[in-house]
Amino acid sequence: MQFVETLKSGAIYLPWPVFADAKIFDGHHMHQSAVCVKKCGESPVCASTYTDNLQQTCIYGMSYFQINVANTQVTIFGVRNENNPNSGKHHLKDALKGRLVKFQDVKDWADRACNLLKTIDNEFLRRQSELLDPLHDSIRLSRQIENIAIRLAHTDDSRALEEQIDRAPPDVISLVKAAGLLVDSFDLLTIYFNPASASFGRKTYISLHGLLRKMVSIMSNPDPAEENTAPVKIFLNGECRRNVSVYESFKIVPFALISNAVKYSADGKVRVNLVDRAGVVEVTVESVGPLIEPEEYEPIFTKRYRGKWAEKAATGSGVGLYLAKIVADANGFTIRVASTKQNGSPKDKLLAINRFSFEISQN
């Protein structure tokens, strides 16, 4: 829970005037000093720099304290501390009168505020956990369905699973695809509700080529009737014979990037390129889709953010790339974006060649 938001709500008792997050919050008991209002106005000079656990006297003779409350830098100002007697400065005698604050009182207040925020957070998590509990069985069942679907397709131990899926009867292929998509969607949901789960477990070596092959096979949608969308063909180019060490969550990254490219593809083609250089494997997902402005390269990875042109092209919730970034961070790599404007595209629907890429070092 944000400290400043709670302050605004009035839920935290504020005995003294406080400056936090570039705003002044007047005390419920002790109001802002006339000296502070006159000399500093809305920007107390004492809050221009911050030192944790500090008690000091400002250039105008008023005391202030600085303390961290739930990761927010807080300055309590316009008060008198024990080292600042009101008999010392005659002209401040009235201004300092009745404004004595002990550092211990400030620390106690900060602790109480932190405890309140922690209690709110815990209660929020408890409720979230309670509300999400029905998901438990659905996730378990989806994995069970996937296991059964793979068992149905995997009838010959001498052949690779991907090859057997490609050769399986259409109904089995559809079942494997649907079950795979269902499991991947639940995995996305898991990271969304609990980002920490991206680094659960231990890193294991996986075949990146095998994973991409399976994903391309699942997400290729040559039959428009299947998902009621335009057919999109996904091409996988390049090879990587070495394995890479990643968390289980890793698959979310190619899944999010490829499904994003499929969703916005303007020409029905998505290219997934795999380049194995000395010690580094690079994956690039390339497609023609709505232009991503350079200033959007970073924000598109934030929660609920949607690109200006992407918003016009299709509906969406703006979480796919946000989740991909969480997983990339957990696995220790960065997703890069490049969008090259395509000449001749309509002005109200600017198109570009969009490239999302990431590199994994083979450790």
Binding site: I139, R143, L189, F193, N194, F200
Partner: protein, 258 residues
């Protein structure tokens, strides 16, 4: 007699004396050095491992014969127990346990632990409470957290404390991979012997040699490992860490020599 020997040597030149006296001494020294292990016993756990375990140790195959695995889950059907037993793993399943069972559970090498529904008095978060207690009782034990509740932020501490995390249901191949990986980390003879040499380096040469002899004798005997602390006396009372490491080592040694 002494006079005759003295006269004999006096009549020889200095080089002949040197060869005559030095050769048998050097020869005897060489023989003692070559057979020091037989005469004095091995001097370190690394030596003992090289001599007795390494020639017979075949990682996954060997470890599979000695590890004990526990599945603590209210729904054991999520695990391929029959497949694992057929593959030679010793598997025991527990639908529900109580905190009194910690000592017994801590003896397993690998534990698959669910968070929900496994402790009668704490249905919701029993696994979360059990995990640190198992860690305390046997820090060498490998714990794999198994649950589909990775989406639940209140369960993060449970998953973070585990050595591995798997979602249910776990298929047979995945389960075997997890068990083999965790068991090989716990029961790695080379690492265990280095660790034991390190842990016992503060003891004198005599105490260490005696410890090695007692360990070897214990391994070839049929005494259950639960009686280890009573039989091994060379370094005084065994602390928890050394006791746990020695128990694992003796199980490997017993497998190799018996």
């Amino acid at each position: 007699m002494i006079d005759q020997v003295a006269t004999f040597f006096n009549e020889l030149g200095w080089l002949a004396n040197l060869i005559g006296v030095g050769t048998p001494i050097i020869g005897a020294g060489f023989l003692i050095y070559r057979n020091r292990t037989t005469l004095l016993g091995v001097s370190s756990f690394v030596d003992l491992t090289t001599k007795l375990i390494v020639p017979k140790w075949q990682d996954a195959d060997s470890v599979r014969k000695i590890i004990a695995v526990a599945i603590v889950d209210d729904n054991p059907a999520d695990f391929p127990v029959v497949d694992l037993q057929r593959a030679g793993y010793q598997i025991k399943t527990y639908k529900q346990v109580s905190l009194k069972d910690i000592a017994r559970l801590a003896e397993y090498d690998v534990v698959f632990l669910d968070i929900h529904g496994i402790i009668k008095d704490d249905i919701d978060e029993g696994g979360l409470k059990l995990l640190p207690k198992l860690r305390e009782a046997n820090p060498r034990q490998k714990i794999c957290a198994v649950s589909s509740k990775t989406f639940d932020p209140t369960a993060t501490a449970f998953f973070k404390q585990a050595d591995d995390v798997q979602k249910k249901p776990v298929n047979a191949q995945k389960c075997k991979d997890v068990i083999d990986t965790l068991a090989l980390e716990k029961l790695n003879p080379t690492l265990l012997s280095s660790c034991l040499d390190d842990e016992t380096k503060e003891y004198g040469v005599y105490a260490r040699r005696l410890l090695l002899k007692q360990v070897k004798d214990f391994a070839v005997s049929t005494t259950p490992v639960s009686e280890l602390s009573e039989k091994i006396s060379a370094v005084g009372k065994l602390d928890l860490a050394l006791g746990n490491t020695l128990t694992d080592y003796i199980r490997i040694l017993r497998h190799a020599v018996c």
